[in-house]
Point group: C2
Chain length 473, copies 2
């Protein structure tokens, strides 16, 4: 029997797609990667995922897991492989508020988990623009970051347990809800961030946290990135570490925002060199209950700290959200980042991380070098400044492969000189394979290849992603 007919027998004809229906499931948010899968299959549960993988493994057919199609690195591209969509594994199996956990399947959309946690008075802190489409499996497979990493960590820090279908179709049960477990190697963190190259994540136990009972959110106008870092340290110190987000938007960002999304407005009448979106969150009654004697509301705390910074000239202006609508408006300007980046083509987008105190050094160095490489290029920066994570985009005058490579190489040179990473939160996929080859410690690459070969000797799991071609050990 053919693979297609075997798959159809397994999951039913409605869930085996071919042609344009299959291709649609393989796109991502960049629009840069379009291939033709032999088919797309939508299993209903873990057992069906395992059975599909066994069918593919028997024929050594490549399996490419896909969930919310919000990737940015070509991680779900395939030409000739079998797309395995996790969208039907969409149950929230359990929420136990007293244990602060949610047991979710791979295809649960991130914002559904947000809502389910909120209904229990809790919070799932992973937060980024694509939350209305991104699914748990993709979030875990890329170890997604976002705007709250500063306070709560990346996806890896929010996961207690996993269920994984291995490349041979066996199911690996790591569905623990334990906060301590030293029974052998940390397999969970190996599968998280492996971008589907070691197996398919089908379910997970995620941590929930107490819902902040108050937020204080502001847009702040400053002169320099360095002043912004000083402000961050002041606010962390004044609040005892309550800063949840600290997002950096230089004038290049504000100008493009005004151009592409004029409907969103800008917080200041004149665009300042640097705009920071800062948000504090608090669960403690002494900061959230204004009727309590002695309580200092969180917004007052932020206001006092910003007033002092204004007084001494560290900042130029600030707008504090007074309502949830105003808060959402401040965030909408930040969350339009992907949209305003991809609206102009060709673009060369990056996702770099540097040590916390090196972000300015990166921007200075790359702006020094860029004119010699791409004379007419515009740039756009937006950064999770508290994590040292910058999304620096170059818009060259023309689409030219050699120019693209020279620009990426120049960026990588600067990043490497600062001991940074060319891949902070979006993953490697296809788009950063060259960077992996050029910049990653060769011994680390060898170890990764040895692990890949040990778990997937036939190389059927999302082949060609993450690891550049090279001899497996």
């Amino acid at each position: 029997m053919s693979l297609i007919s075997d798959l159809t027998a397994l999951v039913g004809p409605a869930h085996v797609l071919t042609g344009a229906d299959a291709t649609r499931l393989g796109h991502d948010w960049t629009g840069n990667y379009r291939g033709q899968p032999i088919a797309a299959v939508r299993p209903a549960n873990t057992a069906e995922v395992a059975a599909v993988v066994k069918l593919a493994a028997a024929r050594k057919t490549a399996v490419i897991p896909v969930s919310g199609n919000t990737g940015l690195v070509g991680g779900s591209f395939t030409d000739g492989g079998l797309l395995l969509s996790l969208e039907r594994l969409n149950r929230i199996r359990d929420i136990r508020p007293e244990a602060r956990i949610a047991v979710v399947e791979a295809g649960v959309i991130l914002s559904r988990l947000h809502d389910a946690a909120e209904a229990q008075g809790l919070y799932f802190p992973l937060w980024f623009g694509a939350r209305g489409s991104a699914m748990i499996s993709g979030v875990l497979s890329t170890n997604a970051g976002g705007s709250n990493v500063l306070r709560y960590g990346s996806t890896r820090a929010l996961c207690l347990g996993l269920e994984v279908v291995l490349p041979d179709g066996r199911v690996l049960d790591l569905m623990s809800e334990l906060h301590k477990d030293n029974s052998g190697y940390d397999l969970r963190d190996l599968f998280i961030g492996a971008e589907g190259t070691l197996g398919i994540i089908t379910a997970a136990v995620m941590k929930l946290v107490p819902a902040p009972r108050a937020h204080a959110t502001a847009a702040v106008a400053l002169d320099t990135l360095s002043d912004a870092l000083t402000l961050l340290n002041r606010l962390q110190s004044a609040s005892g570490g309550l800063v949840e987000a600290f997002e950096f938007m230089p004038a290049t960002y504000s100008r493009r925002l005004a151009e592409v999304r004029p409907d969103l407005g800008l917080p200041f009448a004149t665009i300042p060199p640097v705009t920071i979106l800062v948000e504090l969150g608090a669960t403690a009654p002494m900061l959230t209950d204004p009727d309590d004697s002695g309580a200092i509301p969180l917004t007052a705390l932020l206001q006092t700290a910003l007033a002092a910074a204004l007084e001494e000239g560290l900042i130029h202006d600030a707008v504090i959200a007074q309502t949830e609508t105003q808060r959402r408006a401040l965030w909408a300007r930040r969350e339009a980042a992907a949209e305003i980046t991809f609206a102009k083509r060709p673009f060369i987008d990056t996702d770099i991380a540097v040590p916390l105190d090196c972000a300015e050094a990166f921007l200075t160095a790359i702006h020094d070098r860029l004119p010699a490489i791409a004379p007419d290029a515009e740039t756009l920066t937006v950064a999770h400044l508290g994590d040292g994570n910058l999304h620096f985009t170059v818009f060259p005058a023309t689409a030219d492969k050699a120019l693209h490579d020279r620009v990426v190489s120049a960026i990588e040179d600067v990043v490497q000189s600062l001991r940074g990473s060319f891949s902070a939160e979006h993953g490697v996929g296809l788009s950063k394979l060259n960077s992996m080859q050029r910049r990653k410690d060769p011994v680390a690459l060898d170890v990764m290849r040895a692990i890949k070969h040990a778990l997937d000797p036939d190389g059927i799991m999302n082949p060609g992603k993450v690891l550049p071609a090279g001899a497996a050990k």
Copy 2:
């Protein structure tokens, strides 16, 4: 040339020990494991560690890394292998307070890192009784936990980068200080907690945190474990998550403490069914600066919460430390745990984790079953209750291997029925190999063996630890 003469040529005769001098380096805190290494070698730096491993690998001689000798599971035992001591790799290479990191070598003693962080106004939050002897390499290799995991996580959560000598002597450079890095598989977390079976950790980048500017510490007397969990939730809620430690000591613990260490005293005139040691820590000025208008000192916050709990009968009594000396005295009673456990022999010690709300179910079930298995056995419990981590020790009337196995099996049965782990924070080593074989998901064991075989095909790195014998994939 013999291995000994090769090693002597490499590191000098003063650093190649044989006979009793070598054996001394192989002991651990339980005193249960004594073998005879062929030699012990003390390389001075990473290059020498790599050269030693290469010499051993060429002869397929087993290499057993050892650092502070405070292990509890036989992880550094060897009969016939080469002990590799990391004690001379003892430099703190760098501390960068503005980046909140310390770059340390494998042999740095934990308390030296505490002191070095404190000198910069910062804090390294990993905290346990053996901190004056335990070294960074052992701490990382066992993913050590301790008393502050509730707030700061285990060792894995406190490490940003690693340097590892692989089983073939190559050096793997993962010395990142980045807070986000998605450039390939998470090798760091694979080597952390691998107990030296995949390579030897020679250096690390550790996270530092702001030093708490105030602590509030108390001993609390309660009736039941369940009441203690209610109290923990109240205190977390009242403080906005500032509980750093929540240690559970039932009457069995207090009685043994009074017997073995009468000099340490007890907090209450009559031993209550449950004593809790609770500590809150705060960095925020509104909780730490009593001169600030509106500030609520942390101790007053704890006092108010405990007074309310006393009023409604949730707790029976409480003693709040008023001075640092009183605080140290409260901690000394908790930190005598290993000493009072190992003072009575034979003992069967365990290190289990259960879901946060299942600790009482574990104790009830095991106390029901134990009399039928070990009629005259005494027990001793001490727990990091906020992590669901219990150290439950059984003192059988006689040293009997079959009885020992029956007791361990009964404990494992209960733990498994609660979806817990037989190994929470001490590691597997030799002492929990049977538990790994009996209780770990067989697919997970297979994946671990495949990884071990891929990285260490000749099996020279700390052989026989962590993974029970079985076919490598």
